[in-house]
Amino acid sequence: MLTFIVRRTLYMIPLLVVVSLISFMLIEIMPGDYLTKLKTNPFVTQKTIAEMAKRYGLDKPPLTRYWFWFQGIITRGDFGMSFESRRPVFATLFESGRLMWTFIVSLTTMFISWAVAIPLGIYSATHKYKASDHTLTFFGFLGLSFPSFFFALVLLWLLVGVFNVGQHGLGVGGLFDNRFIDTPWSLAKFGNLLWHLWPAWLVIGTIGMAGLLRYMRASVLDTLSLQYVQTARAKGLSEKVVIYKHVVRNAINPLVSLLGLSLPNLVAGSLIAATILNLPTVERAFFTSLTAQDDYVIMGALLFFSLFLLVGNLVADILLAWVDPRIRYN
């Protein structure tokens, strides 16, 4: 098992290099570059723009620039600078605790959506084709089909326009109300954070919930049809024990690897919902760099997300082996 993990970890390196090369080529295919917008500024001359191009290395051919960037990573651990803010790439992506907030938002969202979807999936399977099963499925797909930006906007509008939360001194969007800006942590501030997070749980959580619910339902149904369940029931075990001790334990296998595959979503989660709800996530910094064509920030972000994807896949495989004794890697 250890050799398996080591081998997989080593594979990640050439994979990341290939990802970086492909990403760089895709950025080059995008028309224009960081300086294109500046060209429409009537106060800036072509000469100044040419000077800036030289300073940023944008006058060099793409492969040369890629090679310099690659060399920088290998020799100095330098992932490049942001053109916009002239700071190192990861300082730009992770500023003001963005990474921490990204994890907090996505981990809590993931925890809540799993904590809701799994029991509902089990319930749905054990009450197959009853009215409750159909209702849960209906609402699950409703949550899936609602566009997240629309859902987020409607939710905020409901809070402001219909429930008038401003009258009660509560704000919408962002992480804290105005009165908590730059104040030290307190119970009230923590409570306020929860008030600002629950719309995110609702909007982002419901997207994944439908899929999880149906996965769990299908998995439980599959397991329920197996012979040992019949045996367990024949032995006289209570339905509760049959379901929760035997069926769920086996049905949850495929979902455990799904957990690993969800790792990338922790950092590259729902951009649109985060933009509407004004949450400071890493993906928003990535989107800003995309629209500005801040080349090295884009590369840094893509590498970061790819790393999580690869690590997530590895974690999924390890978890699967851990949970299911039948699976062994060599």
Partner: protein
């Protein structure tokens, strides 16, 4: 009793000592302080009122700042903060758009118009208590703006017509001279450039401190800087920054503006800028009471107007203050196909197209009625706008060059130049029978521009001219506009300013943004372009503002008649604020020192 007196004395001392330590700011008002005559009859500020100190105001913005370095800043998401922190020698008056003395209390121009002598205000201090002197001014210009190591947009606007740069020199601690090789009146416009603190920043300039790299200054005062390091002369300084959430600005205790009652400005203790990425959410937060004032979009007005009474807020629409900048259609005189080249260079064709613009429909449909028609290359707000009859006079539009919306006139003009519908498909062809189709491109996602293109195409169809709209990526559009890719017609806009000379890059024949006719730079110049070049140079060398006005009047007339750009409309200035905010009616597109979304922040106060 004795014990009581001693205890009381000790208590008083304990309370007073921290107060004495904390006391910052001027002991007495500086003699050279700027007095803003709020509420004083007969002045520009008569409609505003003196306020009270204290409180915090919340405003909104769309994007994060990119840095705190005013010199290297490239866009407004950054300059909305840096222009408040570091004002210049002169500043734009938010009400009249004229030049007010700011860090310079007065200036004279020499007899040959080549030397401007600035007298700086004396006794002023930077926000950290260091005295402000001429050294800071000379440092800012000679070691920053004119230093080729430094990456700045300002160097271009300082360049003189003969290619040289002015020389800024210290005469004494409070006097500087700006010497030019040629007389250049628009230089005064560039004196709004931010003055930077030498005592904080000289160490990062390689020219003065060889120990640092040439690029060092370009990276200093980035977003990771401790805000306590930022020093300026402005009304507010940055106190804290949280990405994607907010920027907190706090009062500068050494600000040198006072009101007519002797109260030191700014009135507010702090103002907080909330970063809200979506304008829909900004509207919601405003309605929720979290934001005190902001600039709504035209489509927000029908939602806010009915709430004026219920929520005690005001919606301000200033049709007489459309923003700076121009919006236009440009036909490419250098397009590859010879037939189209000849067609676009035919004045009657361009006139016909101009008569197709139904500006009233555009205003109604795209801006909810909150826009004005545009005809001139110079911004409406400029004192040189020739919709006025004299420099800085009231706008009468007597000199306006107007192409009335008239399909019949357009048809007549197209008939005259030989464009006829030969094959009866509803569209005109070239005189030789080949098909005529013009692609009008604009940037996808900008719904007002897309809508305007659709309206134009629709009206063109009525006159038998085939115009096809094409909404494309902004960068592709820019490449086309810069002449790197071929195009027929583009719908776009440019920013502007109060000084028409700042459009030199666009309107002069050799300009880098002379979008309709780049080949003018290589000899293919028209008589109109020759005269425009002449007028620009005459106006730049002349210091008598009335004469300058006449030059710019002719400049605007011939450019508008020549239709290099075919102008469309300009959005009116709209703003909204809760009535608990005092002096918010000063909101205007001129806002300076670059207030947030249109407010001059040092005049705003919180009513109790």
């Amino acid at each position: 009793m004795k014990r009581l007196i001693v205890t009381l004395a000790a208590l008083t001392a304990i309370l007073l000592i921290p107060a004495a330590v904390m006391a910052q700011g001027y002991a007495t008002k500086p003699a050279d302080a700027v007095i803003i005559p709020l509420g004083v009859a007969g002045t520009d500020y008569s409609k505003l009122e003196p306020g009270v100190r204290g409180g915090t105001v919340y405003v909104g913005t769309i994007s994060n700042p990119k840095k705190w370095n005013a010199v290297t800043a490239h866009e407004t998401s950054t300059t909305q903060y840096t222009n408040i922190m570091q004002p210049g020698l002169v500043n734009l008056n938010p009400i009249t758009a004229g030049y007010d003395p700011e860090l310079a209390k007065s200036w004279e121009v020499s007899a040959d118009n080549k030397v401007i002598t600035f007298h700086l205000r004396q006794g002023l201090k930077w926000s950290d208590g260091t005295p402000f002197t001429a050294d800071d001014v000379v440092f800012s210009f000679m070691d920053l703006y004119l230093n080729t190591d430094i990456e700045t947009d300002t160097r271009d606007v300082l360049q003189l017509p003969d290619g040289n740069f002015p020389v800024v020199a210290k005469v004494d601690d409070y006097t500087v001279t700006v010497t030019c090789s040629v007389a250049f009146r628009p230089l005064l416009n560039s004196m709004t450039a931010n003055i930077m603190p030498k005592h904080k920043l000289a160490q990062y300039v390689a020219k003065l401190n060889p120990a640092v790299a040439a690029d060092a200054f370009n990276q200093v005062w980035g977003l990771d800087t401790d805000p306590k390091e930022l020093v300026g002369m402005g009304a507010f300084m940055v106190e804290s920054y949280t990405a994607d959430l907010n920027v907190v600005m706090k009062r500068n205790p050494y600000y040198y503006h006072y009101d007519s009652k002797g109260t030191q400005l700014p009135y507010l203790d702090k103002y907080v800028v909330l970063t809200v990425a979506s304008q829909d959410v900004m509207l919601l937060k405003y309605q929720n009471g979290e934001i005190d004032c902001f600039a709504p979009r035209p489509q927000d007005i029908p939602i806010l107007k009915p709430e004026e009474k219920t929520k005690n807020l005001t919606v301000l629409v200033k049709g007489d203050q459309p923003g700076f900048g121009t919006t236009w259609v440009v036909l490419n005189w250098d397009t590859q196909n010879q037939k189209y080249r000849d067609l676009f260079r035919t004045l009657k064709f361009r006139q016909g197209v101009a008569h197709l613009f139904d500006k009233e429909t555009m205003i109604r449909n795209l801006f909810n009625g909150l826009a004005v028609p545009q005809w001139s290359p110079v911004s409406y707000l400029s004192p040189f706008y020739s919709g006025r009859e004299t420099y800085a006079g009231p706008v009468t539009e007597k000199n306006a060059v107007v192409f009335e919306y008239s399909i019949d006139t357009a048809k007549a003009l197209f008939d005259e130049i030989g464009l006829k519908d030969v094959n009866n498909d509803g569209y005109r062809e070239f005189a030789d029978g080949t098909a005529l189709e013009i692609t009008l491109a604009t940037n996808a996602g900008n719904t007002t521009r897309e809508g305007a293109c659709l309206i134009i195409a629709d009206d063109a169809k009525k006159a038998g001219l085939k115009i096809t709209t094409n909404f494309i990526d902004f960068n592709v559009l820019v490449n086309q506009l810069m002449g790197q890719e071929d195009y027929k017609a583009i719908y776009l806009g440019l920013t502007g300013g109060t000084e028409p000379h700042s459009g030199a890059n666009v309107y002069m024949s050799t300009g880098g943004l002379h979008a309709w006719h780049y080949s003018a730079a290589t000899g293919d110049i028209t008589d109109v372009e020759k005269r425009v070049d002449e007028l620009m140079n005459l106006a730049a060398a002349e210091f008598d503002l009335d004469k300058v006005f006449e030059y710019y009047k002719e400049y605007q007339t011939i450019l508008s008649e020549d239709l290099g750009f075919l102008y469309t409309i300009n959005q009116a200035f709209i703003y909204s604020y809760y009535n608990r905010i005092g002096n918010a009616q000063v909101a205007s597109p001129i806002a300076t020192p670059s207030g947030n979304n249109g407010l001059t922040m040092d005049l705003i106060y919180k009513k109790s």
